[in-house]
């Protein structure tokens, strides 16, 4: 028996409010995930792509005083960013183009490297969040405390939100502030003040439905590997289906040269099959958040699909938990 063992002592101290208790679910989940070395490494690596848009913003801001830089920026905007119209405005009136150039660079950062990092990260973290609790029957321990199913779900979702914010929002905000610091004048703030707000809006659009979908998959099975497979299959199959259906016309068209394909691409209805792919559905709404939606279709169908995924996912998770408790 330890010498400090005082036997059982009553406890009558201060208790935190029941509404704050989901925070402990989130805190415990974050600390469990944070112990994984590969995850810390992945988070560090996911910040590396910030360099490229930061260099783009730096080049754009210095292009007004450096003719060589101007040529580089024009090539960048009309080439990899596929915006020859914007390149022209950037060359003739940089102040008028600033907001759009910054937004495009940050959106590109959001859409490509960070979205891929997000899919990978969520695919590795989320499946174990609820499925492990189902397998080890930990839900009995959680719900023996004054915790409601929705609070449990909120706590688990907060784990994902924390890591997604660390992977996507923080780097994007840092990119914005880095852009301001790299600019020759702080007056750029006047032109771009709304970009952090757009980043926050795009974060919400990205994080809420993906978290809901990932938790839903995790709650459907006590074997986390099946949830992982389903998660990646959803994204990969969606992208493949969208690409095949959208570009089938280009590939089967009569023209073989690049020009013929480019001509065919201009007549493609990009919105027609968008809802098949979560990646492109999210892209549509994110572009809308940044005011850069390039396609003519309405954003509302995509928005509606994300809403259905969000509420449908939460409903399924809640049902699954209640079903387990009643056994």
């Amino acid at each position: 028996m330890p010498i400090h063992d005082l036997g059982y002592r009553p406890w009558n101290g201060y208790r935190t409010a029941p509404l704050l208790r989901p925070i402990f679910v989130a805190k415990s989940g974050i600390s469990l995930v944070w112990r994984r070395r590969w995850l810390r490494l992945m988070l560090m690596l996911s910040w590396i792509p910030i360099i490229f848009p930061a260099m783009g913003i730096f080049a754009f801001e210095y292009s007004s005083s450096d003719p060589e830089m101007k040529g580089f920026v024009t090539q960048l905007i009309s080439g990899p960013m596929r915006r020859p119209d914007l390149a022209y405005v950037a060359m003739t009136d940089p102040d008028a183009a600033r907001h759009e150039v910054w937004s495009t660079l940050i959106l590109t950062f959001f859409r490509y490297p960070q979205l891929c990092a997000m899919v990978l990260l969520v695919g590795l973290i989320a499946p174990m969040l609820i499925s492990y609790d189902l397998r080890s029957k930990a839900y009995l321990l959680y719900f023996s405390r004054p915790l409601r199913p929705m609070e449990y779900i909120a706590g688990k979702a907060a784990v994902l939100c924390f890591f997604l914010t660390a992977t996507i929002t923080f780097p994007a905000l840092i990119l914005y502030f880095l852009g301001i610091l790299l600019s020759p004048s702080l007056s750029v703030v006047v032109d771009t003040w709304d970009i952090p707000l757009r980043i926050m809006a795009a974060t919400l659009v990205l994080v809420i439905p993906t978290t809901s979908l990932a938790l839903c998959y995790s709650s459907l099975t006590s074997e986390s590997r099946y949830a992982t497979i389903s998660w990646f299959a959803t994204w990969i199959l969606g992208i493949v289906a969208y690409q095949i259906l959208t570009f089938m016309r280009v590939l089967s068209g009569p023209g073989r040269g690049r020009r013929a394909r480019a001509l065919a691409e201009t007549s493609i209805d990009f919105d027609r099959y968008r809802l098949l792919s979560p990646y492109h559905t999210l892209g549509k709404v994110e572009s809308w958040c940044f005011g850069l939606d390039p396609t003519p279709g309405s954003v509302w169908p995509a928005f509606l699909v994300l809403l259905v995924i969000t509420f449908g996912g939460i409903w399924i998770v809640r049902r699954r938990i209640l079903a387990r408790l009643s056994v």
Binding site: P2, V25, S28, K137, R148
Partner: protein, 278 residues
């Protein structure tokens, strides 16, 4: 301290889950610790320490983290929760194992861990569903001793759901017996153990035939048990002289004489079989 007894499928765990608000009830009202049930199940859960029957744990945490986490979920602030978790682990005899991941725990260790988790927020009411399952005899006695301490010295109410009648007999004051979802028996253990008529239980040496004959002639009703012992019905403790006299007259040696008590096992089997017949 109340023992909740009943055969498998009688509804013990369902009753417990209903009390905690984990299972929705279609009808019925009541109160737990003065809190209206089922309206305020969340407030009830705040005041109840529940030890589930199932083998359950939070994967990835070690023992002390598990207990501290439960403390936090019950509203104990971070550091205070950890301090309290260590204190309760000491009480539950979880020593250095508290730093090991719970996945590596034996069944008995997990049982002790669940007990610590149920106790960590110092609830006034403990619901223990099969708390001694998987414990070796020494640990079982230690666990029952802890439960007794909590009930007798610290004034905690305990609802002990178990199949092990010995556990009920050794720690409980009252018994509730459920069969097919309804209460068949609810009484104190003393009342249940007392026979309907005063009876004396005798163990004899040698052939009891003459002794039985003599007592029957004296007007007593006698039941002979399978082990050879006798139950003499209708004899008060102050009337034992007649028994000694009969033994002396028939040259019978009495090894043991005590007031007869109903066996809990028999009460359990009777209630369960009546429920089945019904």
């Amino acid at each position: 301290m109340t023992g909740l007894l009943g055969p498998n499928g009688s509804g013990k765990s369902t009753l417990i889950k209903s009390l905690l608000g984990l299972v929705k009830t279609q009808q019925g009202r009541g109160s737990v610790l003065g809190i209206p049930w089922p309206e305020q199940d969340r407030a009830i859960r705040d005041l109840v320490g529940y030890l589930p029957e199932d083998d359950c744990y939070i994967a990835g945490l070690n023992g002390i983290e598990s207990v501290a986490f439960m403390a936090n979920l019950s509203g104990l602030p971070g550091t205070e929760g950890l301090r309290r978790a260590h204190e309760v682990c000491d009480f539950c005899d979880i020593s250095e194992e508290r730093y090991r991941p719970v996945e590596s725990y034996s069944t008995g260790m997990r049982q002790k861990l669940k007990f610590a988790q149920a106790l960590v927020h110092d609830p006034p009411f403990l619901i223990l569903d099969e708390p001694t399952t998987g414990l070796d005899p020494n640990q079982r006695e230690a666990m029952l001793s802890r439960i007794r301490t909590l009930s007798a010295k610290l004034g905690k109410s305990v609802l002990l759901s178990t199949h092990i009648l010995h556990d009920v007999r050794s720690v409980c004051d009252q018994v509730i017996m459920l069969v097919d979802g309804s209460v068949k028996i609810i009484d104190t253990l003393d009342n249940l153990s007392r026979p309907s008529e005063p009876t004396i239980h005798l163990s004899l040496m040698g052939d009891p035939t003459d002794f039985i004959e003599r007592l029957r002639n004296d007007g007593f009703s006698i039941n002979q048990e399978i082990d050879g012992s006798l139950k003499v019905v209708g004899v008060h403790l102050d009337q034992t002289t007649q028994l000694w006299t009969a033994a002396a007259a028939t040259d019978t040696r009495i090894r043991r004489m005590e007031p007869a008590r109903n066996a809990l096992e028999q009460i359990f089997f009777d209630a369960a079989s009546k429920g089945k017949v019904k």
